[in-house]
């Protein structure tokens, strides 16, 4: 009898468990569902009330944001010039994020190696100084950078943006790579040292190849963070260098909101992130905590 009661109790618990879990995930997944369906809706379907669950899907929004709207239907070329140029934003972000990550890896990896392998004075202080930028409000650095860039004419240039994006990618890279280098057994390197290899040879020929998976994950995480950033572009980019995150705001004009195109742009901006994230699933916790939690 009591066994039966216990089982029934267990069963109720299981049911409650699944209800709670699924409720939470409906909350998490619903916005994705909504924005994805919206990207396939026509303007009239989007603004209809009650909201349409069943609708005739259209690719018009995607066409409008990728190759521009149908000119036969919308010959107003004056409006055309003011439209958000989504493909440009996309390639801008790609340029900025890729170069920012490349530079960060070149600068960050040797630094991370030194901070993990060598003992020298001020090591921890230096490491934590880099870390502290993760926790500083961006504007504290960006506002003065604006003054400097104005003087150097670096506002609205890729060079300028790639440089300031180091503020996002470099601390991340140094801290995560430091952890990965620390996990290599020291014996391997010591053996090479006895064989007369220089420190630099050991770093490039032995240590770097050993951390390759970690390096790839770090590069991807840094790319995601760079891609997602907003305030740097908001202050320091201009017409020619605007990244996707700023460009998307352009769909919300004073006169009308291009809901469908905004949704299509959103989906396109999310897509690379989801693909990349799925590649580094195991490394994400490390990336999010800068190596504090290994995951």
């Amino acid at each position: 009898m009591s066994m039966q009661l216990y089982r029934k109790n267990q069963q109720t618990k299981n049911v409650l468990f699944w209800i709670a879990l699924i409720a939470f995930f409906v909350f998490i997944l619903f916005p994705f569902y909504w924005i994805i369906t919206m990207s396939f809706k026509s303007y009239t379907d989007i603004i209809s009330w009650p909201p349409k669950i069943v609708f005739q899907p259209t690719m018009e929004n995607y066409r409008a944001v990728t190759v521009g709207p149908d000119l036969a239907e919308d010959p107003g070329s004056a409006i055309q010039a003011l439209r958000p140029d989504f493909p440009k934003y996309f390639s801008n972000t790609l340029i900025i994020a890729c170069f920012a990550v490349l530079i960060t890896l070149a600068v960050g990896c040797p630094a991370a190696y030194a901070l993990s392998r060598f003992r020298f004075r001020g090591r921890e202080e230096l490491a934590f100084t880099f870390l502290s930028f993760r926790f500083a409000p961006e504007l504290v650095i960006i506002l003065p950078v604006y003054i400097i860039f104005q003087r150097l004419r670096l506002i609205n240039t890729f060079t300028g943006l790639i440089l300031v994006y180091q503020l996002i990618t470099l601390p991340l890279t140094i801290w995560i790579m430091r952890g990965y280098f620390g996990e290599i057994p020291v014996d391997v390197e010591e053996a090479a040292l006895i064989d007369g290899c220089s420190r630099w040879t050991i770093f490039t020929r032995i240590s770097l190849p050993l951390v390759r998976p970690g390096l790839a994950a770090t590069a991807i995480l840094a790319f995601i963070f760079a891609w997602n950033s907003f305030v740097f572009g908001l202050v320091l980019a201009g017409r020619d260098t605007q990244p996707v995150t700023i460009g998307l705001l352009g769909f919300i004009g004073y006169e009308q909101v291009l809901w469908g195109q905004m949704a299509a742009g959103t989906v396109i901006a999310i897509l690379p992130q989801v693909v990349l994230a799925s590649l580094v699933l195991r490394h994400i916790v490390r990336g999010l905590t800068f190596g504090a939690v290994k995951g």
Binding site: P51, L126, F135, L143, L248
Partner: protein, 294 residues
Amino acid sequence: MSERTKKNLRHLIPYLFLLPAFLMLIGILYPFGLGVFNSFTSYRLTRPIPDFIGLENWIEILGSSDFWNSLWVTLRYTAIILFIEIPLGLAVALMLNREVKGIIVFRSLIILPLMIPPVVTALMWRTMMNPSRGILNYILISIGFNPLPWLSETSTALVSIALIDIWAFTPFVVLILLAALQGFSREPYEAALVDGANDFQVFRFLTFPMITPFLLLVTAFRAIDAFKVFDFIYATTQGGPVTSTMTLHVLSYLESFRWANLSRGLVFALFLWGMCYGITMVLIRRWRQATERL
């Protein structure tokens, strides 16, 4: 080359590895210093000449109601999101820690909101929160509630943005606590099972003490990020309606670029930096403890 110079050179090796990063560091610290300096000047976008005016900006701002309003908004926002994200995150982490069939799918799905740009998150929710055409009000009405003004009224705007934050960052709390839970050894749990402890006792006397350092870590992370929230607000209300969502970071931006007063903007940013720095110090101490435990 004598042995001695060789040895001296060897001391230089770490610094050579660090040289490029060190140059970057100067590239970050120099603007920071320039920022501190210019908070004592009257630098305006329209008149970019740094006239030194001492503490004038600081005194004026610390006495202004804009500043105190923004500080209050920032603290309220932080309190709301911590109060919900941490317990909710812990609850979900405990659920995802159960080894049941299919749970792995949920463990992967949870990262989705974290990987997309916060601006995009804000735009998605802004669309859904539209008072007249948004799906959220439709859902509210169809289950018998009154529609809400969401982002468009002072009484609900801040809470609405907090809801966006909760959606986006509760997964962050979940992921870190889940990673911590998975790292715990099974033995004490097995012992508790043998002793006939119930679920509550297991949580209260085993899980909770073990997870506390991680809870503190994740709270510090979330608190700092909430202090400097910017993207969600800029993409939704830009501080409005009136000043109901005007956090310090947003105020700093608007002061600098909408009202062209870069020096005053810097004062807000620096004050905020001080707040974040204080918590960071606590975080770093916790951090060392948490890593030592792992």
